[in-house]
Symmetry: C3
Subunit: 208 residues, 3 copies
């Protein structure tokens, strides 16, 4: 019995960590793109490759979950974590894809700031997920969750500020349509990071 269940239990943590690795890679690629202003063919390709690799890990987690009778943490929590980390990667890819479609060619200070906040927030997610291997790290995990929560609030204010500036200074409605969507997508990534840490906090409480 022991030998049957143990390897699978550990591998969920491995797989979730692998997913967060691709989320980190996506955040780095996003930073490179927004620092450059324009999206090159390779820039988009890189993000799409990361998304594809992330998808495979997500698929493996969900399939393992369906095959596994006993899970180290609640089944629906693993499911939620896998889906949400996948959403972080997808949404990062969506931003870059939209920048390409909208032929964005300028560096935007708000988007550069968002990319930094997104990277920090994903680092918090990495830390929270890694911490779950050993529930004795409760304080470290909890502090990572608090940080991700804080960054979501920072992102909310940043989006309001970016939209205020956009609607005040940009007179071309078509530009407003493009940037409004991009800013809202950037903020959404921070929301999803917070969703991840909400699940982690819930796991902590249940295991307390």
């Amino acid at each position: 019995m022991f030998f049957n269940f143990l390897p699978k239990e550990y591998s969920f943590f491995d797989l979730l960590e692998k997913q967060t690795f691709f989320a980190t890679e996506a955040a780095k690629a996003l930073k490179a793109v927004v620092a450059n202003g324009a999206v090159s063919e390779e820039g988009l390709k890189k993000l799409q490759d990361i998304e594809h690799e992330g998808d495979e890990v997500t698929h493996t987690i969900l399939e393992q979950l369906d095959k596994t009778f006993i899970t180290p943490i609640d089944r629906e929590d693993i499911h939620a974590l896998a889906k949400e980390i996948d959403d972080i990667i997808d949404m990062t890819c969506t931003i870059v894809s939209r920048m390409k479609v909208y032929k964005i060619t300028r560096k935007d200070k708000y988007l550069i700031e968002f990319a930094d906040i997104i990277e920090e927030s994903i680092n918090g997610v990495v830390c929270a997920i890694k911490g779950m291997r050993n529930m004795k790290n409760v304080k470290t995990i909890y502090m990572a969750c608090v940080e991700v929560n804080r960054l979501e609030n920072v992102g909310d204010k940043k989006r309001d500020q970016a939209l205020s500036d956009l609607f005040e200074n940009e007179k071309d409605a078509i530009e407003i349509i493009k940037w409004k969507e991009i800013y809202q997508e950037a903020e959404t990534i921070l929301d999803i990071c917070e969703d991840v840490t909400n699940v982690v906090e819930s796991i902590l409480v249940k295991n307390a």
Copy 2:
């Protein structure tokens, strides 16, 4: 055993009712803002305070849920109710926040009508949630659910009417962007109210 579980069982109803109280407060604050047309610093602050207090109740419910072994109604139903009532408050706050960012200064008849419908619908939610304390009130609860459902249909038609009017008469694309978003957010609140009563109806059926 009895003494351990009973207080917690009751407190979920208390907490959900407390949440709906903040939803009602949010609806009143929205009405005041849209009747005035413009959002004052205090108007937004008030909504944000309500959202913050609502958040704390939501957090308490979710944490209690993780700590409680036996719940008076299905665990996932309490979870869904708490999340959705929280979403009602958040979305109400989002509308006011957007009105501020978009520097809205005019009274809008559709938005005033929406604020009325939203208040009525939240009253239905209050009634449905309160009714669940005593499952013998089935008829009262059921009628509140039917009313919330009816108001969602009214809201759908109102949004189509508001959008038709907007796209027919407003020639400034930037104004269209702003109002289209606000109308759709207003209608979304009614959708979420209906989601709440769908969960309530499901609880009724399971307890029949």
Copy 3:
């Protein structure tokens, strides 16, 4: 015991198939509308009637689910399938409703192509749902899921292409607002079809 549970077990498959029938009807009605370019009063009415009939089936499934103790497949999977097939129908109706509100009068090649892809994808959903009656059809079901997944990727590219063309060639921001929403809603239907087949694949794995 046997006689109590068996009829209910079969009826979930009947009801889900009935839902997919209305999804197919909605796809056909959408095709007729976009081939015509403009939405007639009857065109919209037809979609709304289909949506209404679909709603009733969804409601029946969810209610049966609450009343039934033993289900042929996992309760939450039936719930997810019913909700998502309902969302397919709703979103199809939303596109036509928006076309009416936005007074769309021209045939659009991308939307015509989308309507074809949507119809094909819903056919895949029909096939996957029908297949679940007999889990020995694994290969047929699996191939339908792969096809729906492929069509989602086709839809993603189609949306990017349609948006690129729109932002490159349409100079009227108000037209961009309308068509951007319609294209994104069309692509969303393909996402939901894929969500359905993801649930079906998960059911296959659990029953393997």
